[in-house]
């Protein structure tokens, strides 16, 4: 437990992604089974102990610390687990040595609501404050230390020099402490048995198409829809079958979209864009709502009947990775596409449709069509090599995304915030605004977005200097600056939002050009931005 606690503390205080990967990989390499497997489970939110909740810990503390002192301390720290770890009274007399992670997990698993108030203190007594913090976090779930499941898996792959795609592929077939996964990666055993499990397959991804021209005899084009890329998997098994919906990062989002789980009952692995019904994308024919509508449904653990009725989801299919237990990933795109078209009648039209190909005479014609996509409010075009096999990740030359040109608007720099990591001494995050009327007759700037990319290191230094020289006010890490610099901001789309005073929110804003030359009163007005809303 102490090593795991040290790892957690180190992760809390580390900002660099590479350093986090190194810390986790070192831990996984040097820690024994099954401790490291439980730790991996904890880092990927894969552990759940029914009898131990945050309230269990609070109740234990009420018995040990004066309630007024507890409340004052909890308010100061802002986190129940950490407050409890610091306030836990050191036990008198001899205590057993700290438990291993395995022993702690075994004990937590065995606890009931009735025994937890007795058993949990026994574990806490054997640990120091860091160990207690780690134990409570492990027991109550939700580490909240800025480690995604993907990062933990990448660290695992790095630790044992295996491919992260293989790890992803086995992952969903296994449970903590992942004994077969470690046996395979660390000790060279056979890969885990994954038959009849609804596994995630790592996605094939596209490179951005820069200035290249492609020959359309080798590449097929289709729309790039503005939803979220998903994978829907169904397997048949003794208990009647299992279906899972995975996001691009391999997170299981089945519970968020239960209608999609019910819509597939054939053994298959399908790749497509998850959308909700509406008419913002592709007009009536396309029948998809804007990304904003989809966003209302994302990130929910459960979904209400109302929401299911108001914003029903469906998947617009791009590809088929497996059909009736036959893996298609070794086939060419062309033959997979043919299969996909042929099996569409077997899928319920209420929940599936086919992403149509875009027919063009030649590349120039395609470019023309792409120019017209602005009104269709879709992201752009995908170009897929007709003979490409389905390979995980981004392989050069196979798939390209050709986003429509971004929207551009001229904004005025209003606030700047310090970055983190290597940028922690630079003001590198910029909030900018547009005029709410005619700037020459007293209009004000209202913030419309925030960006921290799109400039060079040399430009960052110039911007940092400007921020320091023109500071009007300081609010903690944020500085308000004089209104004197115009940014040409690029963004993918703009939506109505209650979060901002301007009532608008940009998607993917970035600094396109710094207009050192442009007077601020010539920056755009909110009205101009509002005209670009396509909700």
């Amino acid at each position: 437990m102490q090593t795991f606690a040290t790892l957690l503390d180190a992760l809390v205080f580390t900002r660099s992604r590479n350093e986090k990967l190194r810390l986790i990989a070192d831990y996984l390499r040097t820690t024994l089974d099954p401790d490291r497997g439980w730790a991996l489970g904890a880092l990927t939110d894969g552990l759940d102990f029914k009898a131990v909740k945050s309230s269990t810990v609070r109740n234990l503390m009420q018995e040990r610390v004066d309630p007024v002192l507890w409340q004052l301390s909890r308010d100061f720290v802002g986190d129940t687990a950490e407050t409890a770890s610091l306030l836990w009274p050191e036990p008198l007399g001899e205590v057993a040595p700290p438990p291993s992670v395995d022993e702690a997990v075994a004990s937590l698993t065995a606890m009931t609501r009735a025994t937890a108030p007795v058993e949990l203190p026994r574990l806490l007594d054997r640990l120091d404050p860091s160990g207690r913090y780690a134990l409570i976090k492990l027991a109550t779930g939700g580490m909240r230390i800025g480690i995604s499941a993907r990062l933990a898996k990448t660290a695992f792959a790095q630790a044992f020099d295996v491919s992260v795609d293989a790890v992803e592929e086995y992952w969903h077939a296994l449970q903590p402490p992942y004994a077969e996964l470690f046996a395979w990666a660390a000790d060279g055993a056979d890969p885990p048995d994954t038959a009849n499990r609804p596994l995630f397959r790592p996605f094939m991804l596209a490179h951005p198409l820069e200035d290249a021209q492609l020959n359309l005899t080798h590449y097929a084009a289709e729309w790039k829809w503005d939803g979220i890329r998903v994978q829907l998997v169904h397997v048949a098994n003794e208990s009647g079958g299992a279906t899972r919906l995975y996001s691009r990062s391999g997170d299981d989002i089945s519970a968020t979209f239960p209608e999609m789980v019910q819509a597939l009952d054939r053994p298959a692995v399908l790749d497509g864009e998850l959308l909700v019904r509406g008419d913002a994308q592709g007009g009536e024919e396309g029948g998809a709502a804007s990304f904003n509508a989809l966003q209302q449904r994302l990130g929910r653990k459960t979904v209400s009947k109302q929401m299911l009725a108001a914003s029903p989801a469906f998947v617009r299919l791009y590809d088929v990775l497996s059909w009736e237990n036959a893996d298609q990933r070794g086939e060419t795109w062309e033959s997979r596409r043919k299969l996909l078209e042929s099996l569409m009648p077997q899928l319920p039209a209420s929940h599936f449709d086919l992403s149509q190909l875009v027919e063009a005479r030649d590349f120039a014609h395609l470019a023309e069509i792409r120019e017209g996509t602005r009104d269709a409010a879709i992201e752009g075009l995908m170009l897929k090599r007709r003979d490409s096999l389905y390979v995980p990740g981004r392989k050069a030359g196979l798939w390209y995304k050709w986003k429509r040109d971004p929207l551009l608007v001229d904004c005025v720099l209003m606030y700047a915030q310090r970055g983190s990591g290597k940028r922690s001494s630079f003001y590198s995050d910029y909030t900018f605004g547009c005029w709410d009327g005619d700037p020459d007759t007293g209009a004000e700037l209202l913030p419309v977005g925030k960006a921290y990319s799109g400039f060079t290191d040399a430009e960052l230094k110039q911007l940092d200097r400007l921020v320091r020289q023109t500071t009007l006010n300081r609010f903690g890490p944020v500085r308000e600056v004089e209104r004197r610099l115009v940014f040409e901001v690029a963004f993918d789309s703009v939506h109505v939002s209650k979060r901002h005073k301007s009532g608008l929110a940009m998607r993917f804003p970035r600094i396109h050009r710094i207009r050192w030359d442009k007077p601020v009163h010539e920056a755009d007005r909110i009205e101009a931005l509002r005209k670009l809303v396509r909700d």
Binding site: D9, V12, F13, T14, R15, V65, D66, V68, L69, L72, S73, F76, V77, G78, D79, E82, T83, L86, L87, R418, S420, S424, S425, D464
Partner: protein, 334 residues
């Protein structure tokens, strides 16, 4: 005869001793000031007469340019203030020169601790427990969650990290008066004898400590050296310089901060600290409550810090206490 202890009264800008017409740690200029130690929330310039230890007077001369009207008092020495009040300066263990001030009048004894700690510190003599009727104490870390770990553990953390990254440097944010010199002295005690690099703002105070006989080993100024020379070294700067442009001249610094607040993870994260070092020159909760029990005063007055929790502790232990709302007191790390 006047009511007990009516000769000493707390005011928002200091504690007033009426029979002697003098103030303790006043936050504005007065005729006659008794100063516990040199931190800016206790000491300031402009008094006509300042009574303090020679070390504190030297610090005040350096920081606030106060030379006029300085009256030195040695530890253990008593001075007659007039009006029948006598003051005795007793070590407080906080920083170089820090003192508790014992005031005696008409057979009543009041101690003003100033800031203090009970842990050993190679740069100043330790706090002495002295009986009194009223103990006027600080409560900077007056919450039960504050337990400062042994400083040797924190030094080991720092040196381990330094050894693990020989191509980088560890930049330690530490308050320029007291914390910085204690960290340096503790590093020397832990066997680290390499040159330690200083931010320019640290230099004069370190020299002053050395003049008073505190051994800090070889110190160098960052400004005089190249990035290459500083690889694998410890650099000390004021907390405000940690994330400032100044740090760009250092070789890929690992950011550390020496402060009692580092006990709380979010506090460390808010300051972008990668290596929190829980080192404080203030009493932690255990030291505060132990001191009150050992001194065992008739009543405790709490000057500044998290007084609610310490008041609650008094209530739970059937002890008399009141909170004074003094202005301008703050922790030097914040």
């Amino acid at each position: 005869m006047a009511a007990p202890f009516s000769w000493i009264t707390p005011h928002p800008h200091g504690i007033y001793v009426a029979p002697a017409d003098c103030w303790v740690d006043p936050s504005r200029a007065v005729e006659q000031a008794l100063v516990t130690h040199g931190h800016a929330d206790h000491a300031r310039g402009g008094h006509s007469k300042t009574i303090a230890t020679p070390e504190t007077l030297a610090i005040m001369a350096l920081r606030y340019n106060t030379r006029e009207g300085a009256q030195p008092v040695q530890y253990g020495e008593s001075v007659k203030l007039g009006g029948g009040v006598q003051a005795t300066y007793i070590p407080a263990g906080h920083v170089l020169g820090s003192a508790q001030i014992l005031l005696e009048f008409a057979g009543e004894r009041v101690i003003i601790t100033g800031d203090y700690k009970r842990r050993p510190d190679p740069t100043c003599p330790p706090f002495e427990v002295t009986p009194c009727d009223i103990l006027i104490t600080e409560a900077t870390f007056g919450l039960p969650l504050f337990t400062h770990p042994p400083i040797a553990d924190e030094m080991a953390k720092l040196l381990d990290r330094l050894r693990a990254h020989p191509d980088r440097c560890v930049l330690v944010g530490a308050y320029a008066l007291g914390k910085a010199q204690r960290v340096i002295a503790e590093l020397r005690a832990a066997g680290h004898h390499d040159p330690i690099y200083l931010h320019g703002a640290m230099e004069k105070m370190c020299r002053l400590y050395q003049e008073f006989g505190v051994d800090l080993g070889e110190l160098r100024l960052v400004a005089d050296h190249t990035k290459e020379e500083m690889r694998g070294s410890i650099v000390i700067c004021p907390p405000s310089a940690l994330n400032d442009r100044w740090s760009r001249r250092l070789p890929d610094p690992i950011t550390a901060m020496a402060s009692g607040w580092m006990r709380v993870r979010q506090r460390a994260r808010q300051r972008n600290v990668e290596l929190p070092l829980v080192i404080s020159d203030h009493a932690d909760w255990g030291e505060l409550t132990r001191t009150i029990q050992e001194v065992d005063p008739y009543e405790t007055w709490i000057t500044h810090g998290r007084e609610e929790a310490l008041l609650r502790w008094h209530q739970l232990h059937q002890r008399r206490a009141r909170a004074l709302a003094l202005v301008g007191r703050e922790d030097e790390d914040e």
